[in-house]
Amino acid sequence: MLSYYLRLAFASIRRTPVLSALMVLALGLGIGAFMTTFTVYYLMSGDPIPHKSHMLYAVQLDNWDPNDPPTESAKDVQPQITYQDGQNLVNADTPAIRQAQMYASNVIVVPESDEPPFDESVRATYHNFFRMFDVPFLYGQPWERREDEDHAAVAVIGRELNDRLFDGANSVGKNIRVDDQFLQIVGVIDDWQPTPRFYHVDAGGQFDDTEQIFLPLSWAIDQPLLPSGNTNCWKPPDEDLSLLEAFLQSECVWNQFWAEIETPEQAAAYKDFLDNYVRDQKALGRFERPLNTFISNVPEWLEVNEVVTDDNRVLVRLSFLFLLVCVLNTVGLLLAKFLGKSGEVALRRAMGASQGAVFSQNLVEVGLIGVLGGLSGTGLAWLGLRAVESLYRGYQHLVHLDPVMLTTAIGLATLSAILAGLYPVWRVSRLAPAGLLKTQ
């Protein structure tokens, strides 16, 4: 019977192409808008490193201007720390399992082939970075502690860059030329894209690609590779020093700092350690504000940095309301369409169709409209995500239209259509079967 009903549904849709197209479009628009905002929201609010997000802590130290308003929460403190604090913490003996200081930069990569040089993003950090964030390796491994200490010219590169420079072959041991220096490749990492890119969410970079070159921060400072992310200062660097030295010793914040901590006790101990560190620094005349240190695990960190803004939530709600309006609109269109079928319904009733049979037949039609609406909605969502991608820098990872999303869209559309259709379908199945003879 289902195949019969499907055939009838197709015939019915063909009979009223404009009305059917309107319904499919109404549903498609509602679904498309909702799926677009929801996908953005879903990916933004996802846990980028689920198995470990409660063990990784971002560090904030309040070294800011004493004349600023008082600090009430982590949101009031700079999300980055100074280079000198980073160095002090990294070199200290702490309760954390691992610590990593890091910053983002850019270099020019000069390929050995005829390919012209190109710009590439860099993360200057410590060997700990990779184990801390469970970065998957395709070839080789991270560099060692000794290489951090030796300011060694080594690099871990991303799969994409490895494909580009070495056609995907194992490039461990080979050199890569950045600017006018050569770095020896010690590892190639596999595709790795935490979304949001939690380890550096500053300056709208929360959805940026992960870097394609990772190298020791000590080497990066020697060059020097200057930070490409946000740099914030509240007082001018010391004029007596050389420009670089002044910058490194300034109160300017431009380093991200992460610690891996296993237990709540360890976290408390680590927090004490930070407090004591700041107290020591206060004794040296720095940190003029009241003592404020914060450690935030990944979910907390995304919250502190408002990675999911209220705007996103409002948008999801608005687009859901829009979907409701579209569904209500479809109810109206379906009523119009089905009342136009009263003749055929009465005829089928006279031929022996029960109310249930009429109900099922029309529900199948409504379901078919729903599936078509879902398909068009998916198409529109795809376009919508493309638009989001082109409007906002760094949203590239949001635009995956994966099978889950496809089935969700179609399921949602079918459900919406069936909800929209229940009343019209019920009405049409209740039409008086005698109507046909009486209207002659």
Partner: protein
């Protein structure tokens, strides 16, 4: 096979109450060909609808094949309609976007027959009405008389024992009407009981028995009325 006792049908709207049938008593035997006549608005269609289980009477007893059908639910009534009753309407009522075969197939779909059974029945019926070679035509490609023949094929496809026709020739010219009437007569000769509403005294004359409905009451005339004499019903008297 059909027995109605004290059947009344009242249509109530907020403003008026219409007594379409008033204590109608009537019976039809297996194999009869009954012509139902009566002025417009006298209740002929209402009677057919109740007979075909498309409507329920307001009061009275209706037995079909010895079974009291006034208390059945929608499912059971639909089943009986599907298995025992065939309908023919004045305005053919074919589904415009289904071809002839699919139109004839409609009642069989609700019968639950296999595809093979259905295909055979559809072919046989279209052959019977002389349109076997046009299975894939759309209704709009046929003349009125041909469409009504398709409607008859559809009514007969499920082999009902009881055919209800509401002015089946009302929209046809006399030539076409004759073809349709002949078809109905031959079907009746094969054993199908037919109740046909008609305004045409000539056609009514050819039936085995006439029932005249006036003001919702039935007057039975066992012998066909003469086509030239306007029937004068006995007002207010009803007998089965």
């Amino acid at each position: 096979m059909l027995k109605m006792k004290n059947i009344s049908k009242v249509y109530r709207t907020e403003l008026v109450e219409t007594h379409a049938l008033r204590e109608l008593d009537l019976h039809v035997d297996e194999g009869e060909f009954i012509a139902v006549t009566g002025p417009s608005g006298s209740g002929k269609t209402t009677f057919l609808n109740i007979a075909g289980l498309l409507e329920s009477p307001s009061s009275g007893i209706y037995e079909l094949d010895g079974e009291d059908v006034s208390r059945l639910n929608d499912r059971q009534r639909s089943r009986i309609r599907n298995e025992k009753v065939g309908f023919i309407f004045q305005s053919f009522n074919l589904i415009p976007d289904l071809n002839l075969a699919d139109n004839v197939d409609v009642p069989l779909r609700y019968r639950g027959w296999s595809a093979v059974q259905r295909r055979r029945a559809v072919g046989d019926m279209l052959d019977l009405v002389g349109l076997g070679s046009r299975q894939n035509y759309l209704p709009s490609q046929l003349s009125g008389g041909q469409q009504q023949r398709v409607a008859i094929a559809r009514a007969l496809a499920g082999k009902p024992r009881f055919l209800l026709a509401d002015e089946p020739t009302g929209n046809l010219d006399s030539e076409m009407a004759e073809i349709v009437m002949k078809l109905l007569e031959s079907i009746n000769a094969e054993g199908t009981t037919i109740v046909m509403v008609t305004h045409d005294p000539d056609l009514a004359h050819r039936a085995s028995r006439n029932i005249h409905i006036l003001d919702g009451r039935a007057t039975d005339s066992a012998t066909p009325l003469s086509p030239n004499v306007t029937p004068l019903p006995e007002r207010g008297v009803a007998h089965a």
